[in-house]
Amino acid sequence: MKILLMGNPNVGKSALFSRLTGVDVVCSNYPGTTVGYCTGSVFVEGDKAELIDVPGTYSLTATSPAESVAVDFIPDGDVIVNVVDATNLERNLLLTMQLLARGKPTIIALNMADETKHLGITIDSAALSERLGVPVVETVAVTGAGIKELVEKMPAARIVTHNQETDDERWKRIGRIVGEVQTIVHRHHTIWDRLEEATIQPITGLPIAAAVLFITFSVIVHAGNFIIENILDPFFEGVYGPLIRGLVRGAVPEGIARDILIGTSDDFIESFGLLTTGVYVPLDMVLPFVALFYLCLSMLEDSGYLPRLATLMDNLMHKIGLHGTAIVPQMLGLGCNVPGMLATRILETEKQRFISAVLMAMCIPCLAQNALIMGLLAPRGVEWIAVVYGVLLMVYIATGLMLNKAISGESPEILLEIPPYRRPNPMTLLKKTFVRVRYFITDAVPYVMLGVLIVNVLYFSGILDATASVFGPVMSVLFGLPQEAVFALIIGFLRKDVAVGMLAPLALSSAQLAIACTVLALYFPCVATFTVLLKELGLKETLKALAIMMVMTVLVGSSMKLALL
């Protein structure tokens, strides 16, 4: 048996889904689309049934990819569980009416039944059930209240037959039903309401947004450094390093093989050994920041703050051909460009997706790269970090303005529901963070090690020196960097963090280091991002994107050389 869980966006459908299902949840993309959905199992009267968390939709008129997917699911379903937000009964009932017209056995979960109380709303669910002709169960997905009853009542799901109606007729009928089953006691604005509204008023909202972002990044940086200094560094320096060096020196004779494994230096970054640098960079220097970043991002997501940020940023994003919603993929890209690129699919037009992808690939260094940039530049002084990010920000805005003018096509507008603030559920938060961190460990760590291995192979085979002598002069003429910086650019294609690490032993001046870090961010995406870029944009658009990156790199890098050296 297939049970479809359907409802508007932001009605607590996914929370209900995780309450109903066990551990065997599988999430995937709907075939042929970029819309994700999850399936799990639920036991109804002792029988195992498949439960599908259908993408949220406001109607069955299918005006967006997510809505078309929702519509496509209906013929396969045996039972529909329609999740209705009790605090927005009227709006939610349109979808309910459209679902009932499909002639499938349906049951309604009247969710967030607890939130109606402090909004002064009372709903007579028995009367609602009678008027609609299907069972209605009050649920609170966050606490789990009513979940058991919902499962017990699933077999009672009913088909109702109605005459064909237009949406206009439906709205009229909804108006009558809501008038009968819902009573609203007028309620004065509380301090909470005012605070809530302050976060979307421009005058108060923008400073609050700046504070939220500042606090978020301070927490990530400080907590990350604390973990590294007090837990990871002592472990790597005191335990892992001596242990692995001892083991390798005992087992592998002096020579190339040993140098590839642990290098010649005892410094974790400079050694460039597979088991030293290759393990230290991802697990010590990057992992703590990645985990904290995703934890904070999930918190902003689940609390409902991101749509507010999107609203506040909409105007600025419009100037560069995007709209407020684009802030979400851009922030994701700050963790890793790959999920960020994938998330640009939420934007409506090709123009928006192109601008978004190019700006991200160039000007938003991933967290791994940021960690290394900070690590290398912090000892040289905060002003050098400011130079790198200041230049990247200027390039971001300038490129965005240019692309917006140069590319034809529409930049549609923002239309976004702002859900009320909710306290994030700790379990959901941890689950989400864990999934994202697991992706980093399984996908990024092997690439880092591969990068280190290739650096070694190129180095010992002499290819690296040969390339350096060919392209080296270009580096010094254009960017004022030594020949060896070419190595970093080559490896940067594989892993940007490894590439930044390669700058460490080159004895660069602070200005050279700043130029190299900026050039490394701009010139080309890493291979993982490149692959996604190719998949998302297609060959022609990708070539265009790459051309923009190269031109900007030469322009920006050489200007920095003139200004700083």
Partner: protein, 79 residues
């Protein structure tokens, strides 16, 4: 008589005012807006308005919706 009785577009409504939806224009946009509860006859309140042609945030029922300038210009309202 008088300007007060003429429907005006939502975009011109200042922050804090409550109005009634008179007409939602533009077929495709109308479909999306109506599915979100912005229907003829509904009361809605402008709770925030960004500067320099930015979006408005409106409250319809208990839903807050951010809506861009162009769309807000296609919604006719009465006080």
């Amino acid at each position: 008589m008088g300007a007060m009785d003429e429907p005006v577009c939502l975009y011109d409504i200042p922050q804090g005012d409550t109005v009634t939806v008179e007409k939602v224009g533009g077929k495709r946009i109308a479909e999306r807006l109506r599915a979100m509860g912005i229907v003829e006859g509904k009361r809605l309140r402008v709770i925030s308005k960004m500067a320099l042609g930015g979006p408005q945030v409106i409250m319809v029922g208990n839903t807050r919706i951010t809506i861009g300038q162009g769309m807000a210009k296609k919604i006719l309202v009465r006080p």
